[in-house]
């Protein structure tokens, strides 16, 4: 696994996306769909690796399903199943939004 010094898991074959077009998973609203570009967790390589194991791998499409009543955590649909993450973890997943 190509884990960088910053704990980044990056797609080897992914087209280069300008930084400005990236959107953190945590900032998407329910109903949005986005493609994972990279998972970056500064100082927490464990988090980056675990998000990868949960299915948040580069190139994977993620859908925001719903927020908890107190707005955190949020349920995501990824690789055919549903998993919830807190904002802190979802902020590590950088995506490009998919047009519906």
């Amino acid at each position: 696994m190509s884990v960088g010094g910053r704990g980044a898991v990056q797609a080897g074959r992914q087209a280069v996306v300008p930084e400005s077009a990236l959107c953190a998973l945590a900032d998407l609203v329910p109903g949005a769909r986005a493609t994972v570009v990279e998972v970056v967790a500064d100082g927490a390589p464990d988090t980056a690796r675990r998000l990868g194991a949960l299915g948040f791998a580069p190139g994977t499409v993620v859908e925001v399903v719903r927020r908890a009543p107190l707005r955190d955590p949020v349920v995501y649909r990824v690789k055919d199943y549903e998993v919830c993450l807190r904002r802190a973890q979802a902020a590590c997943v950088f995506t490009t939004e998919v047009e519906l």
């Binding site: 464990d46 009543p69 707005r71 955590p73 055919d80 199943y81 998993v83 919830c84 993450l85 807190r86």
Partner: protein, 650 residues
Amino acid sequence: MTAGCHEPGGAGAVVAEDARIALVGSPNAGKTSVFNALTGLHAKTGNYPGVTVSRYVGSCRAGGRGHVIEDLPGTYSLEPISPDEQITVDVLDGRLDGTPRPDALLVVVDATTLRRSLTLVAQVLSRALPTCVVVTFTDELSLRQGHLDPDALSRALGLPVLPVVGHRGLGIGQVRERIAAWRSWPVPALAPPTDPAELDAWAESVLTFADYRPAERHKATQRLDAVLLHPVWGTAVFFAVMMAFFQTVFNLAAPLQGYVESLSGRLSHLIAGHVTNRWLSGLLGDAIIGGVGGVLVFVPQIMLLFLLLALLEGVGYLSRAAFLMDRVMARAGLEGRAFVALLSSFACAIPGILATRTLPSAKDRLATMMAAPLMTCSARLPVYVLLIGLLVEPSARIGPFGAQGLIMFGLYLLGAVSAMTAAWVIKKVTDRGGAAMPFFMEMPPYRLPAPRAVLLAMWSSARAFLRKCSTVIVAASIALWLALNLPLHSPAQLQAAGVDTGDSVAVSAYTVDHSYAADLGRLVSPVFDPLGFDWRINVGVLSAQSARETFVATLGQVAAAQSPDHPTDALRTMTNQDRSHAGQVIFTAPTIAALLVYFAYALQCMATVAVIRRETGTWKWPTIAFTYLTVTAWLMAYLAHTITAAVTGG
């Protein structure tokens, strides 16, 4: 098929032990039902040495030989981030002392989450052990219009692939046949790629080859979640479920508890009527029947609680409750799943502590365990009822509310707030240095659990409770009875002391007054004097050290009241006999307040201490819990005594 794989006469003993086979899979993959179906009800539970991780080992007879099956902790990846996952990796690598490396692996994957699960399969393949894949929930996959060709998957992976429906036992026979031939399982020659992008491509190619079509979204889950997780309706349903939970645990269990109580009462009378030896009848009736009865009274409640928890878990609501409460629990540095553990602690801290096993973070688990004994458990109820009855009249009102109910509510609130505060403090202390564990929780679809699986889950929790706790409480109540009735006094001694030997109440009052327990109660009086306790309360508090509810019975015995179960009237008028406070009423408002607060905080439950010891694997944490709770109890009781004295001018 589901009745276990022991051939008649096997009786669970492993003969000619052949292979050690480990079950590997992610949580929720159905690993436990496969394990239960393979090993029957003969699994042994324990702990891995030195860690808070439960170990499940069972035996399975296949092909005339006994095989050891070990259910490894569930993991999403072999790159561990929690102690449980570390154990799984260490066992697979043969790095764990006392646990030999398994001879072969059964990888359990959920057919509906195959796309994600192949990452774990790939990591397991790199371990180069003989491997077989078990695919669960294949029925659900086809119900939701998904498809998988197990034979093609087998060819793509180069491993045997067996579809099963674990909770119904379908396909378990084939798994057992395969286990008999474990030596023929291939050892993966070429490990799949490890680079995430290449791994993804590998997984996709495997899925395409296996003609995999993912399951459609579960319609019922979508519809239910739209309501149950809705900001307004979801919150309303959550509180309704919690209300129903408490109503069931307290109201439905109450008549059942009444039956148990009257049964043990009748047994006691039977013994009193037929056993003429005062000593034997006392030991049998008061100590043993009383002690066992004291535990059995809680069994209906605890069974109901476990049943409800197993049902809510099996249906999938507990992960929703955890999802809804996560933000609230985050305030105390915990996560949603800790809410479920603290919820169980309202009935009894023991299932609450057992429920911390669902927490992936070891720090969260410890913090929750340390907080769980503060939740108002059912053993505190009889004590609170007695003391509140002494404090205020049933007719007393504060505003529109009854004073008794309000005080009871206040004590529940005190327990919950203190538990959250304790968890917050412990997390603050243990979090120094280490990075916080990421939070994630799978939201499985709602499922109708198999009744057998629910009953099994209920029974395994209840059995552990019964076995561990009945011994402690029975031993403690025998010891207490002996302490209250020794030393022996001959009729001559009694007469010399001016006691009418014909009056049994007077005799027992004299015996208790001059017993070892009384000596002990007087010995510790310097400690409890500032709280306003006299030696009789001290004996009650000391006896309640093993189990809180014995306080009521002990005070009854000590006060030599006519009815030991309702000592209220006798206690109300009880006065202090010690020289310095002679003639003063013992149960004054400040003393009762101090006692209530003491019981709210103190860890007076040896069963809880034993369970914390078992779950953490060391004496360190039960010692910490005991010390901090007892010290806090004393300080808070002193505070309550001082404040109440100032307010009432007593």
